[in-house]
Amino acid sequence: MDKLTIYGERFDSRLLIGSALYPSPQIMQDAINSSGADIVTVSLRRQNSVAAGEDFWQLIKDTGLRVLPNTAGCHSVKEVVTLAQMCREVFQTDWIKLELIGDEYNLQPDPIGLLEATEILLKDGFKVLPYCTDDLVLCQRLAELGCEVLMPWGAPIGTGKGLINPYNLKTIRERLPEQTLIVDAGLGLPSHACQALELGYDAVLLNSAVAGAGDPVAMASAFAHAVTAGRMSYQAQAMPEKDVAAPSTPTMGMPFWHQN
């Protein structure tokens, strides 16, 4: 399978996986390994909070994967810029999954603040991977600012609803053929991931769908297969959809023809 490109770097897996919500640290490690992912998402919190610190960081380092820090939970441009700068120092990467929440009810990204923060961080040398809504014009503006990777949502975070607006996602793919597009958030089933890749998306980023499964390790493997299937399907170019049935078995030589 061809490789995923993120800001000029190439990766074998088209599945990016989160490190949160697993039943145990061991299951987290096993699921991440089972997913075949090359990239794992992490975050920063106060050191006196539960599970923040060196123990968790050692577990992530043991996976050997590339880390993608996020700015989850931020509600302002100032917060998101500061957290991104703190992430860069701790995780020693200029990648940032830029997450700026605009509405607390559905955790919808704030498109206006996102543009402002993206511009600031790109100028500061970050490689920004913005988590955004599936709005074409927003994605175009982010690309114009210099984002080589865009991450529109499939559905609100943690809902597991899948791609609630495939038309929008498809349009973004068609209008931004050069950008690396990753569906981020809202997936629940491997078939959702497969559908995203079949639409031409370059990858998916997910967490809850694996961590919240009855068997996260098995589900991680299922997603890995789905992503591979979706990419191969996209490259193989699906048959045109038709509105009328067309027999697949030849009608020529059909027995009993006109006997009744």
Binding site: Y22, M28, L44, G53, F56, W57, N70, M86, E89, F91
Partner: protein, 65 residues
């Protein structure tokens, strides 16, 4: 002087640097620091002196999605 350290009210010697305050609180690397919502690079911690009422955030790696 009074500081807000990771959301908690604390009292520290007014002459201490941010670096010394963080050490006194037992912070364990890796971490990054913000003062009043502004990132303070690790190299500037020894020369940064908080003022009374300032807010200090010391953040460490955690799980993320």
């Amino acid at each position: 002087m009074n500081l807000i350290y990771n959301g908690e009210d604390i009292q520290v010697d007014g002459h201490l640097s941010l670096q010394q305050i963080i050490v006194s609180k037992g912070a364990i690397p890796p971490f990054a620091v913000a003062l009043n919502g502004q990132f303070v690079p690790a190299g500037l911690l020894p020369e940064t002196k908080p003022k009374n009422g300032d807010s200090v955030e010391v953040l460490s790696p955690i799980q993320g999605g």
